[in-house]
């Protein structure tokens, strides 16, 4: 009866073969991998350099201005600037800048890859069927599983970090771009077609603008997930606030960990509010006044037309 309770080993998988395959790929494709690595590092450094050339008071002013304009509230602008000021005040300004450059580079790449894929799978049922399980895998696969191959292929440093972050963070923008485009009112799409739009015109002039609020939600989610990777990627040598947290954990320095961790949270919250404010605002601010002024406005031209 023993065999009923002991699951038989049917496949004797040699996982080391996979290790070897990845290793030999790393060797044989070294040239290509180096190019990618160089490109990714270049992008991160470029963004880092831009951030470096912004004096800190100007940076805070920019945060204040963005918060004020996007959230349409002076209070929000001040609050965000003060929060970011706090990060600098506890001596983490440079680390924050480093983190921000890795995160922004990852998000930029995620959007460049994600939005076109989202558009593709929104228009093609076939592509959708192929891509969806891949997206599910990317979202549920434990991050560490692809940290290792990234490490193998690109070594420690920003390039591996960016790749791991992109894999993890690209999913929401793909899904929400696709969802947004699918949700565009069927009659609006029919109307655009009926006036003789080409596929490109339909996409550019109608589907993407109509899907914009949902796409922006995807962008926001992607940014948030990239922020969530900050500490994880420090394990493969990405510098910044994440590294600070990791070091604190390794040395069991609770206070230092708390300060660095809080800085990550503050940065994430400010980025979230700023990107969230860009689109939904438009909807909220126009919806309400419509109803209240509807009757008044009805009267105008309709009476005039008679």
């Amino acid at each position: 009866m023993d065999w009923l309770f002991n699951f038989p080993d049917i496949f004797d998988l040699d996982t080391s073969a996979i290790d070897n395959a990845v290793r030999s790929f790393a060797v044989s494709a070294e040239g290509m991998l180096d190019v990618i690595k160089g490109g990714l590092n270049g992008l991160v450094n470029f963004i880092g350099m831009i951030l470096m050339y912004i004096p800190w008071p100007v940076f805070l002013l920019l945060i204040f201005w963005a918060g004020w304009r996007i959230r349409k509230s002076l209070k929000s602008g001040i609050l965000y600037a003060v929060l970011i000021f706090l990060i600098g005040a506890v001596g983490l300004w440079n680390l924050m800048r480093t983190t921000l450059s890795v995160v922004l580079a990852s998000v930029a790449i995620a959007l460049v890859i994600g939005i076109p894929i989202g558009i593709l799978i929104s228009n093609s049922e076939k592509a959708n069927k192929i891509v969806r399980p891949i997206l599910d895998t990317m979202q549920t696969m434990p991050v560490f599983v692809y940290l290792i191959p990234a490490l193998l292929l690109f070594g420690t440093g920003n390039a591996s970090g960016v790749i791991a972050t992109v894999i993890y963070a690209v999913v929401p923008v793909i899904r929400l771009t696709s969802l947004g485009i699918r949700q565009v009112d069927k009659e609006v799409v029919e109307a655009a077609k009926s006036f003789g739009s080409t596929k490109g015109q339909l996409l550019r002039k109608v589907q993407i603008p109509q899907a914009m609020p949902t796409i922006m939600t995807g962008v926001n989610q992607t940014l948030m997930m990239a922020m969530a990777m900050v500490v994880t990627t420090s394990m493969i040598g990405v510098r910044g606030l994440g590294m600070e947290v990791l070091n604190a954990v390794n040395r069991i320095e609770i206070g230092r960990g708390l300060v660095a961790g809080s800085s990550v949270v503050i940065l994430a919250i400010v980025l979230d509010r700023l990107t969230q404010g860009v689109v939904p605002n438009k909807r909220k601010s126009t919806e309400k006044p419509i109803d209240s002024t509807k009757n008044k406005k009805d009267g105008g031209p309709e009476n005039g037309a008679k």
Partner: protein, 393 residues
């Protein structure tokens, strides 16, 4: 209504959705009902062997209940839907055999469409929506905006060009829809239940305005509706559809006089309220009362107060005696004349139990309200063109 040459034609158009199409076709050929076919095969028969001729320059109404295939049919005309079999011919060319470029050309210049829930792009303002058809054609911005302005003012939306569509009422949104459809100067205008989403009052105005626009521009209109009143009001030719098949095609008169079967008869009888209602049902109380013995000053004051240009004058028994017009009244006051001296007598009055359909000609031929009286000739109220027209729906 004379029969012109046809501009659009459907020949044996069939559209099936779902699986087991060949089996469904077999069942339909053996005379099965749509319901039965769906239950047996899971295949929906949206259109079955539809033949239509759309006469040029006229309003062709397709009417049917939901599921009768009317929306599918109209979408075959501009290829938003591709029929399973059959041909759609526009000026000798099969629409469904056009290549990509020809199809764009056809949609951009020959045919356009108005949608039930408007299909407006909320990210564009009124001008942006109306000029869309020109934009995709590559017309320069200044030129397309100029043309769009023209059509915006045609539908009475001047001054609203830069409003967001979300801020407009239903009636105004559909005006935008109509302007947008006309802007390319198409030969055929497809309208898929354009007024169904509007409330009855607005719908009536829009029907009337569409008729005016159509008569002015002489466009061919294919108009879809589920409302028989609307069909008869708008249609030069009306086509009744049921379960994806054409039941009868004819002018409203022909359909009323010779319904093809009980289905058509029921449909039509459900509509014609004017043959049931009397003027008593629709008359309104006059807002101002002037008696023969009143002074001219009071008569003028009454008219001014109520913004009327004419008033029915009554004697003390409330019998209508004649019409007094504001212009004459003012002149008479200068000349020192009394009301009976300038009264226009010999006015029409209708009895309260007159059928609306019988009162129509009297009311519409008269340029002022008609008095409604009881058996003894006492005035009970008035009927106006507006009240007659609103009763027609």
């Amino acid at each position: 209504m004379e029969q012109n040459e046809s501009i659009l034609r459907m020949e044996h158009v069939t559209k099936l959705y779902g699986p087991n199409r060949s089996e469904a076709i077999k069942m339909m050929k053996n005379g099965s009902e749509k319901e039965a076919v769906y239950k047996k095969t899971g295949c929906t028969v949206a259109l079955w062997d539809v033949n239509l001729e759309i006469p040029k320059g006229q309003i062709f109404v397709i009417i049917g209940l939901s599921g009768s295939g009317k929306s599918t049919a109209v979408r075959c005309f501009n290829r938003l839907t591709t029929p399973t079999s059959g041909k759609v011919i526009f000026e000798g060319r099969n629409v469904h055999e056009m290549d990509k470029k020809e199809l764009l050309e056809y949609r951009r210049n020959k045919i356009s469409m108005v949608f039930q829930s408007f299909g407006l792009m909320s990210h564009r303002d009124v001008l942006g929506n109306v000029s869309y058809g020109l934009e995709v054609k590559g017309v320069a911005q200044s030129k397309r905006e100029k043309i769009a302005e023209e059509f915006i003012s045609m539908v009475g939306l001047n001054g609203w060009e830069h409003q967001s569509c979300e801020q407009l009422s239903g009636g105004m949104r559909q005006r935008v829809g109509i302007a947008r459809a006309l802007v390319n100067n198409p030969e055929v205008l497809l309208m898929d239940e354009p007024f169904s989403a509007l409330d009855p009052l607005v719908r009536r105005d829009m029907q009337f305005e569409l008729l005016q626009i159509q008569r002015k521009l002489k466009k061919t209109v294919v108009f879809i509706t589920h409302d028989i009143d609307e069909a008869f009001k708008m249609g030069d030719v009306v086509c009744i559809m049921r379960d994806g098949k054409v039941v009868q095609i004819g002018t409203p008169e022909e359909l009323s006089m010779n319904p093809a079967d009980d289905y058509v008869r029921d449909f039509i009888e459900s509509a014609d309220k004017t043959k049931v209602l009397t003027v008593r049902n629709i008359m309104i109380t006059p807002s101002c009362v002037v008696r023969l013995g009143d002074s001219m000053d009071r008569a003028i004051l009454e008219m001014r107060r109520n913004n009327l240009s004419s008033v029915i004058v009554m004697d003390n028994e409330l019998h209508p005696k004649g019409m007094l017009f504001i212009g004459e009244a003012i002149q008479a006051r200068k000349d020192g004349k009394t009301i009976p001296q300038v009264l226009q007598t010999g006015i029409n009055a209708v009895a309260e139990d007159t059928l609306i359909s019988d009162a129509i000609s009297i009311v519409t031929e008269s340029s002022y309200p008609i008095a409604v009286t009881d058996e003894s000739g006492t005035m009970l109220g008035i009927v106006t063109k507006a009240s007659i027209l609103s009763s027609l729906n």
